[in-house]
Symmetry: C2
């Protein structure tokens, strides 16, 4: 197996940084669009294990990335807990029912009972691992409890997530009750994914950046910390987007890798976090709209600035209208890079 | 005049922090809703000087804030340059025509020629000053060039502003050409506003936080810096939302006050910026959804943590569904606060 990604995640000294992209299995690939266009919707793809496996492997074939990430959605967890969602074309996720009060929270399923409903994900992992045939490691992922709560309260995406934040400020006890149930489910879900065969798990806290430092320390970090402490079967990555203001706390989590968005410089992060964690990121996804000469230059600049203990990626998911050639230029630039001999 | 706000902005020692709220003239006030409900839309209010003046003064009467801010919109500048916009209910601004190429940029008006079209704003300032009758200072404002460019390219609000960022990466020379024209217009506009009577100007860079540090230093800071250097008639505030990653640069701007969002702790900011600048902010607007006891407690905590050289405000505009009593609790808590005798 090309285990460069795992060796790097574990902090080993490697010859070059491994590379993959968030949302690499998606609209940037013509193969993906061909499959997607034949389906009723995104959820059909998520819920059909053979197809989810197929699109998971496409970027390994087409781009030559050093890791695959199982094609799925963070919102499968709220759904398994009892809140179904729809994906509205060009608008994003929408929950017909949201959490309004204590009774709504009490009605939710949690832990293994909830997680076991996501058999289609675990089946997809098994099929993917069989078909990947040890070419590259497979990443499993989950949304972080705060981000999942925010959708369960808000009912959709939002610029401010002010309903979700209002809930934290006005109903802190209920918020903790809900966060505990989500956390139990995330842990059970990740353990089942690991049993099914994923080689590393990544926790996405997509809406970390909209909380105040105090709220993040109260409502987000303790639950991520619990997840990290409960999962010890595989290496772990935490990507708390926009959470620069709690970087020191993130640096103390029991995880191997921290994801960085494009606002964060590696120098700043090293200074705050110290030498232990591996960093993942962080080219601005919009940088891939530049010319290939410029992409190459900026990618090398990024790799130089991280130096080592680095998994190359973008600072956020690749945008669906990014030219395929530009994505390939990014991947190839990393693969042709070599750490200077010391 | 209650000049506490201006004395504080100028760095003088004061007895307590002054207080006002971004978006204080707006839906939180029943008086505002009464006027707004009789009109065809938001733009009619912006473009009718007597009404704009009336809603500007409402929060001074109702809330007792220490400053008024002229009721207007940052998008009047793109419109004066030649791009009209509409405000779609519940969706936000929308530009039927956007900037696509060099010819589009060359067609735009700029500087005084553009700014003079905004006579309704200057009239509103004059009426407001007359009716305020020296009760409190009046703030004038403008969007920052990058934020204005982002709307002119994107055509609407966006979570990622990826079209606007794509423009910066793929057409850097055109971006600078457009930013220069916008900057000239902002300067002319602020000078005309100052002539009309505003006592301080604030520059809002609402989308600062989505650029990378390098992009911000290339496409945003130099233009804000130029504006600050050209305006010396009144004190200046710069609020670059989410721009924590260039705080040191912001600290060097030729301005008096820096606005802080709720992610930023005053301690961190002081450390990076040093002792010269006055800070404005930064309670999380969602904090006003808590109980009044909690609002009081958290407001005092914020005031204590700033200590001095502080203009109390939220870290972003007040949300329209915030209970009026909660806003009053925030304002009154600040007004009852006293700096400890030293």
């Amino acid at each position: 197996m090309n285990d460069l990604f795992l060796r790097t995640a574990l902090g080993e000294k490697v010859e070059r940084p491994p590379v993959w992209l968030m949302r690499q299995a998606g609209r940037i690939l013509p193969q993906y669009r061909a499959i997607r266009n034949n389906l009723s919707g995104f959820k059909e793809l998520v819920e059909t294990p053979s197809l989810a496996a197929e699109v998971t492997i496409q970027p390994v074939d087409e781009l030559g990335v050093d890791a695959a990430i199982i094609f799925s959605d963070i919102l499968v967890i709220p759904e398994a807990m009892g809140l179904t969602y729809e994906l509205i074309e060009k608008k994003g996720p929408w929950f017909p029912k949201t959490i309004q009060n204590k009774a709504d929270i009490e009605k939710l399923e949690k832990g293994e009972v909830a997680a076991e409903k996501l058999k289609y994900v675990f089946d997809a992992v098994q099929i993917t691992q069989k078909e990947l045939n040890n070419r590259v490691p497979l990443i499993g992922f989950s949304g972080a409890p705060w981000t999942l709560l925010s959708y369960m309260i808000e009912g959709s995406g939002s610029k401010t997530f002010s309903k979700a934040k209002k809930f934290l400020y006005s109903e802190p006890q209920l918020a903790h009750l809900l966060l505990e149930k989500i956390t139990d489910t995330v842990i059970a879900y990740l353990k089942l994914k690991i049993n099914a065969g994923v080689d590393l798990v990544q926790i996405f806290d997509s809406w970390a950046g909209i909380l105040s430092p105090e709220q993040y320390r109260t409502f987000a970090l303790p639950y991520i910390s619990k997840i990290c402490n409960e999962i010890d079967e595989v290496p772990k990555t935490v990507f708390a987007k926009g959470a620069w203001f709690v970087l020191e706390d993130l640096g103390k989590l029991n995880c191997n890798v921290l994801g960085l968005d494009w606002n964060m410089t590696p120098q700043y992060n090293r200074e705050i976090v110290g030498g232990q964690k591996v960093f993942q990121g962080n080219l601005d996804p919009c940088q891939l709209y530049a010319t290939t000469d410029e992409i190459k230059k900026q990618t090398i600049k990024m790799l130089d600035s991280f130096g080592s203990k680095h998994i190359a990626n973008l600072g956020h998911g690749v945008y669906p209208d990014t030219p395929l050639e530009s994505v390939k230029c990014f991947v190839d630039t990393v693969k042709n890079y070599q750490y200077p001999l010391k």
